[in-house]
Symmetry: C2
Subunit: 370 residues, 2 copies
């Protein structure tokens, strides 16, 4: 109910979560989380009624509660405002919540495929499932199976949130078309990523293509467009979001890759080992391999992709990535994409509140993300 | 175009795929396959246009072409007729096709979770993906990841077929509600199966519960209800299908379990090793463990679940399952469920053509399935 209070101005006029000056992104986030909580509470009682194990819903709830910036949900609501959305936000909040369940699905499956140990500061879901199975010798495989199914349910529930958003038919068709396209893009991007791992790791273009399909459209373009579609936006607005989505989504992912390897300059995010151990085909790595002399190139190739990579070797890899200029080049790529985002926004003529929110999210996503 | 000819009577009146006497199930199957072919052809050209790898669509197409009885699709169309569906069958064929893409998804994921080698006489999809990766040391894990994504796309496409069926809004909501419920039931059933493997293998009730959630509703009840919903059926018809779904779905699965271990009496289906090697918690196995004396029980426990189980040990396991009466008991369970199906149909008063088709499918599914 906190969110309802935030959503009213002092004069008592109901404004949803926006007024002429600013969109209250914290309030949006709370309302999206509220939709998710209510939906999962229904799933919990349905599971109890049918004798289904309660831990599936609990696992999804814990996953959502453990973190995540809800960037897609926020972009969806901001896209709605940018396209003139106003008044009762029920449908857009439901679609925004759906996006976050979709992200949960994608990350749970991603962690299985990458065999990651941790996510959002907790054991990855397949590790949690494995722990449930005790000392069964097949616990590793079965735990992955359990997590696979939890991920599938998160995806199905994301779709159910859409199906039950009670949209007007033409809007529903448009929302489904965008959502289906997003799902397909992400799956193809992940497919390229998984089936191409270990090959052509110095291919900067291939690494950017993977970002493009796996992350860029799903992180920025489609969420903005989904919100805009709910406000009945025309093709011109959809096109602005397409032009915004690629640079902002790429910048977002490039920052994520830098943070994973080097941590954040302010120390809030510690450097990690996961991308290096996985041999993730990032633009950063491709630039490093391409820019290195033969000796360093060979050494970098030896270091990344080793599942047992230690902190000492990680420091060595980071030193090479720094010395080849790969880190600096990635920073420049982020900065040029951020500039491009501002240029697109300058020409878009969005309402002031939406424009400000988009600029704020662009800073958050590309500079201070952790 | 063959299907169109089949769908016309000699007098030239368009009748879809049904007349007063009989539903032409072969024609229904061809038309469903036609919908799938057209849909996947669109996906192929979309992938080509966007630079996505063609093998994803090809893999789904090959999977569908390799076999499958399309029992769910047929039941969906028969359910539509039973509820008075008539005339243009476009929407029901699309929903029926959606069910087959859902089955493809479920089986591709099932094979990953069970680490099965083969499906429908060909290597399982994760094996095909692994072979694509050559001698990469991570080929096993990455191949499973590739198959996971192909399965996800099959699920997403199943939903897309529904979203684009151009249903009238109230019907669409009803179809989505049934479809979402089916997906959830199957996932929970698989979850119970995966996370419970190896525990309480002599628990007949637990094995039946897994069938119930994993197979029974999704194989019979929901497909029939989806078809009926498209014909605007009332609650009474939905209820008949619920009462039909459980015995028919259970009988279907019990027959499948018998066929896997013992093959078919006519020799068309050879006995296999996969359920025994996997230690699948079938009713057959639970009955065998429960009915055996301590010595045989211990031996059966040693044999099943061994990944390297050979033909000689399989014969030993089959002999125990036969000697304990488990095989015969399972046959009796199938027969009593078949009788129950007939009793439900006797009281249902469905149109003659639909009634006959349902009786025919009941025989096919419980007696001669392979």
């Amino acid at each position: 109910m906190q969110t309802e209070r935030v959503a009213r101005r002092a004069d008592g006029v109901r404004t949803g979560v926006v007024d002429a000056r600013a969109i209250d992104l914290c309030a949006v986030r709370r309302r999206v989380d509220g939709v998710l909580e209510d939906f999962l509470a229904e799933k919990t009682s349905a599971a109890a009624g049918r004798g289904h194990p309660p831990e599936v819903v609990d696992t999804v709830r814990d996953f959502l509660a453990a973190g995540g910036k809800r960037i897609r949900a926020l972009l969806c609501v901001v896209g709605w405002h940018a396209a003139g959305g106003d008044g009762e936000a029920r449908a857009v909040l439901r679609v925004a919540a759906s996006l976050e369940l979709f992200v949960a699905f994608a990350l749970i499956h991603d962690d299985i495929m990458d065999d990651s140990d941790r996510r959002r500061g907790r054991p990855a879901v397949h590790r949690l499932m494995r722990a449930r199975l005790g000392d069964d010798e097949r616990a590793e495989r079965l735990g992955a199976g359990g997590a696979l199914l939890v991920g599938n349910l998160a995806l199905m529930w994301a779709q159910e949130l859409l199906h039950t958003a009670e949209l007007e038919p033409a809007r529903q068709r448009r929302v489904h078309r965008l959502f289906d396209a997003m799902l397909e893009e992400v799956m193809y991007g992940q497919y390229l990523d998984v089936m191409g791992t270990g090959r052509g790791a110095d291919d900067v273009e291939a690494a950017l293509r993977i970002i493009r399909y796996k992350t860029a459209t799903a992180t920025v373009e489609r969420p903005l467009q989904l919100g805009a579609a709910l406000a009945g936006a025309g093709e011109a607005t959809m096109d602005v979001f397409a032009r915004l989505g690629l640079p902002l989504g790429e910048a977002f992912q490039l920052r994520d890759d830098l943070l994973d390897v080097f941590g954040s300059p302010d120390g809030a995010c510690a450097p990690g080992l996961s991308d290096l151990r996985e041999g993730k085909r990032t633009v950063l790595l491709a630039l490093g391999l391409r820019g290195a002399d033969p000796g360093r190139r060979a050494r970098l190739g030896q270091l990344v992709g080793r599942a047992d990579l230690g902190e000492r070797e990680a420091i060595e890899a980071r030193t090479i990535l720094h010395a080849t200029g790969a880190r600096e080049q990635t920073e420049r790529m982020i900065a040029s994409r951020y500039e491009q985002v501002l240029r697109v926004l300058d020409g878009a003529g969005f309402p002031q509140a939406a424009d400000r929110a988009l600029r704020g999210l662009a800073v958050t996503a590309t500079r201070y993300t952790s």
